[in-house]
């Protein structure tokens, strides 16, 4: 490996490498734990999405049906006109929450459902089916806001999960093996030097004894 070639086989370097390996291992373990926790969180969110989605989509299709009825009774143009007259000031409270160091959005909306007077279109030119349609859409919107929060969280967590996974893998399959290889190289080299020294001493001793 390339990294092996550049290390100098000294005892100092060996100590340093040993420290780096233990640090890398510690980091690896921590990231692993973080990944596990994120996966648990991710599936919890997915389960809740599953529940929320069914309800929200059902309500949305119901809303579309009532709107179709409204268009049929009042006329499409009139319905659209009423929608333009409607007060469109819905505000969603958005704040952020931390899940395992991941920032996820929380969306909250109060008073999605308004009464017919608060909606802003004129009452005497519109039919009651319009009120009905508006009500259904308001309900659907409320549910969709919750769903949006969950999906937003899922995406944020997934992104973090991916990043963590990449780091875990980089440590596990590249950095740690590389360091270990370097460690082994130095150990071998030091052992080899020891043996060389030993045989050199033996040889000198033999020479000295022969000369004496």
């Amino acid at each position: 490996m390339a990294a092996v070639a550049v290390v100098t086989p000294t005892r100092m370097e060996l100590l340093k490498l040993k420290q780096r390996v233990s640090l890398a291992q510690k980091g690896h373990d921590l990231l692993r734990e973080k990944m596990d926790a994120l996966v648990i969180e991710f599936f919890e969110v997915l389960r809740r999405i599953g529940e929320a989605r069914t309800g929200a989509l059902k309500q949305l299709s119901l809303a579309h049906r009532t709107l179709s009825v409204c268009s049929a009774i009042m006329g499409t143009i009139e319905t659209r006109q009423a929608s333009m007259e409607a007060k469109r000031e819905l505000e969603v409270e958005i704040s952020t929450r931390h899940v395992m160091g991941v920032v996820v959005p929380t969306l909250e909306v109060d008073k999605v459902e308004r009464n017919a007077l608060a909606r802003g279109y004129s009452l005497h030119t519109t039919s009651s089916v319009l009120d009905e349609a508006s009500k259904e859409f308001e309900k659907a919107l409320g549910l969709l806001v919750k769903l949006a929060e969950l999906e937003g969280s899922a995406h944020a967590i997934a992104r973090e999960l991916e990043r963590t996974k990449r780091r875990v893998n980089a440590l596990e399959y590249i950095l740690i093996p590389q360091l270990k290889a370097a460690l082994k190289f130095i150990e071998m080299r030091l052992d080899e030097m020891e043996r060389e020294n030993f045989s050199r001493l033996k040889r000198i001793k033999a020479m000295l004894e022969a000369g004496a």
């Binding site: 599936f43 579309h64 709107l67 659209r80 469109r88 409270e93 279109y121 969709l144 806001v145 949006a148």
Partner: protein, 112 residues
């Protein structure tokens, strides 16, 4: 802090959400113009939530996906079915699971 809601969809979706109080509705008319509008929604400070219908999201294609990948935390973008109830065959959530967990896992709602 209060954020406004934007909707990109067909005429009926836009009408419905306008009745429900969504502040911005945009009726899809051509890919380029919708993309420009979406980009404007994405960079707007006051919009916190964007709904876009599945068929339109699909029509916008790669450009839309790129925007979703690079977007900040806000606004949250949610794809919704339009009045035909159309939803894409490949659920993006399952794609997400496949990519992150590396295995295909089907998550169902309780009793579903």
């Amino acid at each position: 802090m209060g954020y406004k809601v934007a909707v990109i969809g067909d005429a009926d979706t836009a009408t419905g959400f306008a009745l429900a109080g969504a502040s911005y509705t945009y009726v899809h008319a051509g890919k380029d113009r919708t993309l420009a509008k979406l980009a404007k929604f994405m960079t707007s400070e006051e919009i916190g939530l964007v709904f876009i219908t599945h068929p339109i999201a699909e029509e916008l294609g790669a450009e839309f996906r790129r925007m979703m990948r690079t977007k900040k935390l806000l606004p949250v973008v949610l794809r919704i079915p339009d009045k035909t109830g159309y939803a894409p065959k490949v659920d993006e959530l399952y794609e997400l699971i496949k990519r992150t967990v590396g295995a295909e896992i089907v998550v169902r709602a309780e009793g579903g």
